[in-house]
Subunit: 208 residues, 4 copies
DNA sequence: GATGAATGAGAGTTCATTCAT
DNA sequence: TATGAATGAACTCTCATTCAT
């Protein structure tokens, strides 16, 4: 008896998935509901049955996508829970994974869409922010605090440290990827990650 | 007899100005040519007479705006040509001004538009990049190289140093300004600028 | 074991009832099948199971309603079967009741719907006419003939007399009720009924 | 230099004309704006340029049509200004013309549309009423009053007399024309007009 | 038999763009 | 040259109707 329910849920998922894909490809205005329906393999009115509006469709697609993204990023921080002996290596691992996630096509599209449509959908910012960079910063700051306490990093404001770590890591990617136009190779990603970690550690060496 | 020419040039300027204003306010798709014409105080076909097309209009408006922006940024770097005795103070001055320019309304709009429409107008990236962050990075790297040569900064790759300096400075502004939604007060700007410079200098102290 | 049959009949009745209500409220085009289903307390496909089509639904709802209306009107004529001594009083009674029925909400809606949709549903006219004004005219003409024969009315064409009686009675109600927009009070109804009867009698006094 | 102005006015007139024609043919909902545009020989957006909305289009088309209709009806009353010796003949002339106008295709359509869409466009009633039956009644009542004063008609309430005259005349046409479905021949029109006038005069003979 | 879900067709409305003045 | 008016194309959304359960 769960078949129809599953079917319905699947269809809703397919629609949201397709919607994000098309929004990512075309932007909000250029994305036609017809194209979204095609992408999801349903008829146009089905889209309207599930998500009342093009706007609603957008909001839900963004929300779903950003929750997925948050989950992955938080997972990437896990190695810092047990940093081991080689802090630099651990940071490099984490940094590389965060960078990969940051440069992922869907993640770039999410940021791009957020950027473009923030005037039209101010609420979306709140929805997405709830799963956004601020959550990562928080989690990362927690780890930083531990490292400071244990004397492996110079004592300082852990929030600022987390923010600057992320800034070093991602701040230059926009230019490097030509705003998401160019795919960045694994080598370049590793190089940026390592350089960022090195600079961060140089600035954060414990006093004396 | 130059009056009519001036008039013509002025009209073109007014159109480009108005176009950028409206694009900034609404985004490319939502910006109506009529609204742009109204903003510029001309009739719609006049817009088409001067700039053949909505797309052309966009490209030229973006180009103009980005050239203006580049000029201001390059000017902000000038103090580094003669750093004086107090390097930290000079860097702070430069950093603060760069940050101000980065957070300016029109600058934010320029980045936002670039982001949103990059799929539709890939050429715009080239046009704007020609006056974009890469030019700043270059100029800044030049200054860094001088400072390294003169022993006031640790010897390293000047391009990377410039990149990381900018990353530290601007990388966190997106989150802090809630994607340009919130205006950031002068105090907060200064605080970020100083923190960035401090971290940068700590990581760049000349070896021993 | 007749219960389910009753249930079925009841459901059909409920649907027709609800259909007329909604058609009366919104008109044919604006009446949604969903709204009709809701009004009848059933699901949309149930409507289609019972009455194949929106058009069929309309036809049956109109037919049912007009049969009900005819019954009431014929009943209103009954006092004329035995006019008694005071013809004027009897005519006034009948006139008032006919006027009441004419101004009833559902009767107005019936006429309005007939009017609007006559181009789309020409057959409906036949169906409804079979229970429509022409039947009343006939019955009324019969009574008029009796009254003429018995010398209580001037000898004349009884069909014409019936027609003019109804015309005097109802001809001005459209303007007075502002096309069914305004509800007409009992006093006004009585006044119109009396005036119509008086004029009719003045024109129908038996010769000399 | 009046050519373009004339052109614009003509186009607006053509649109309103075409709109009424199509509304009359199909009813409000079934009338497509495209069909109206075709009927008027313009493109769809031109319709929207001149009359902002389908609803606005309807209102203006109705208003225009009803003003035309009023003019014709008032003109039909003119013979009553100088009734001459043969009152019956004059009344018959007026009655016949009023009846012709009442049964005119466009007049029927006007009433039908008013009826159908009164719920959706309540204001239309006011607009049209301003040029509607009530104006005729008034004008006719004026003439009646004169005739009563001069002793050619029995003294009575002139408004009521006018109302009943019109009721006798038009009250039976709906049934006879099968709600505008059947065109009524000139002979039948004359016969109804005469019968109405005769009945009216019989009921209105001056006392004594 | 009754229903939730899905669909094909179509309507109103808007907008970038082009004539004609 | 600058403009008012006109248009062709497209898009969102709705609804009567039909499967599958």
């Amino acid at each position: 008896m769960t078949a129809p329910v599953r079917g319905r849920i699947d269809k809703r998922q397919a629609i949201l998935e397709g919607a994000f894909t098309v929004f990512a490809r075309r932007g909000y205005d250029q994305a036609g509901v017809q194209e979204i329906a095609d992408e999801a393999g349903v008829a146009k009115p089905t889209v309207y049955n599930h998500l009342h509006d093009k706007a609603t469709l957008f909001r839900h697609a963004m929300e779903t996508e950003s929750q997925v993204a948050l989950g992955k990023r938080l997972a990437a921080l896990e190695p810092l829970l047990e940093p081991g002996d080689d802090l630099r290596a651990t940071l490099r691992t984490v940094a590389l994974e965060l960078l990969r996630l940051h440069c992922d096509d869907r993640a770039c599209a999410l940021r791009r869409l957020l950027h473009s449509e923030i005037a039209r959908f101010p609420e979306t910012l709140d929805i997405v922010s709830a799963s956004g960079p601020h959550r990562i910063n928080e989690a990362l700051a927690d780890r930083m605090a531990r490292l400071m306490l244990s004397g492996r990093l110079r004592s300082a404001d852990p929030d600022l440290a987390a923010e600057q770590f992320m800034a070093l890591l991602t701040g230059s990617m926009e230019a490097r990827s030509r705003m998401g136009t160019r795919t960045i190779g694994e080598d370049e990603l590793r190089s940026v990650a390592h350089a960022s970690v090195d600079t961060f550690l140089r600035a954060s060496a414990p006093a004396g």
